[in-house]
Homo-oligomer: 215 residues x 2
């Protein structure tokens, strides 16, 4: 993809490559929308291609199977969402409000469409051995990236006692809250619970905005 | 069901009622096994009846639709599991080990077959308006019962500051850990994380086995 030289750090693509990139992005976004709207069993490559306005031939060329399509979609959109969160977090002012906002941003990621789509795929993979085998390494990769994102955003010093566990617990808690939000709007309860959680985190030495940073 | 008199607190059933009860229990257990093994879409009333060794007619008589069957299964087995956990907890000795064991028992509930089966139903309900409408009140009921169970087992005084939130966070965390365990065995990470979590709980005044009880 980067074979054709670069100008000011931006890869120059041939028109054909650019069309491919746009087609792929449209297919991956349609896949997530389709998973959110119709669930795993209602998501077919035909429905996704139609929704994306992409020919069946082009869809088959880029992602021959449903499994390849959904895995690429989850990975691509997880990366994009992580990049968006990093950008958003980069402009947050330092101070006690920062931890508050960062937890809210992470919580939003676990209640948004990408989480719902990923959960559809995860649950389907549980009883589909081929999909499961393909998904386990992707799950590990996305999990590590999410952990790294949380560590960076929280300014967490993982060498400080209890900090690594607190970051992990935050992500596991948010995943649980994401599931609790599946069938009915759990925002009210979630916000109250996260208010208490943020206080716990803020009291923890080893987090930026936490006890150490406030000294 | 209790119309025919009681002897020593045990309801006396007619042979017909007893057969019905056994048939129902077998159908509900088969339903959960089927959801665990084949997932939502692989679970049909026909497959469940065959697995339970129950005639199609009897299955249709007790639970005419898949929706009724899975909802009854989740509710019945959640109640039975809660009763089993209460029994198990009743014989736990008091002291600091108690909190440790109680958290492990709750964690086991969120990684066991019932959790997996319920998650299949919850995720399917997200994109099935009829099932969703029927499930939302059941979810609320099961959620309240789980909270009550955790409060009782942890000996939690919910009037003490932060205790209600800590109980809720424990259950949400365990739900998140349950999902993290879906595709691969997450026991090692979960145990390390829960060890830290138990310490946090133990430091909280207002929990039996917590700071207040240790004074």
């Amino acid at each position: 993809m980067f074979l054709y030289g670069q100008a000011e750090g931006v890869p120059v693509r041939t028109p054909q490559q650019e069309r491919s990139r746009v087609t792929q992005a449209r297919l991956l976004e349609s896949t997530v929308e389709c998973l959110v709207e119709h669930g795993w069993s209602g998501t077919t490559t035909t429905v996704v291609a139609a929704r994306a306005g992409v020919s069946r031939g082009a869809q088959l060329h880029h992602y021959p199977t449903k499994s390849e399509l959904v895995m690429a979609a989850v990975e691509h959109l997880a990366e994009r969402r992580a990049a968006e969160i990093r950008q958003e977090a980069a402009v947050l002012p330092a101070g006690p409000q920062r931890l508050d906002r960062v937890v809210d941003m992470l919580a939003a990621a676990f209640t948004g469409p990408l989480f719902v789509a990923a959960l559809e795929v995860w649950v389907a993979a549980r009883t589909d051995p081929d999909l499961r085998a393909a998904l386990v390494p992707l799950e590990a990769r996305v999990g590590r990236e999410m952990h790294r994102l949380a560590v960076d955003l929280l300014g967490a010093d993982e060498r400080a006692p209890g900090v690594r566990e607190a970051v992990q617990a935050t992500l596991d808690l948010l995943r649980g809250l994401g599931v609790a939000n599946l069938l009915s709007d759990d925002t009210h309860r979630r916000q109250a619970l996260l208010a208490a959680w943020k206080k716990q985190l803020a009291a923890l030495p080893g987090l930026a905005g936490g006890a150490l940073a406030n000294l």
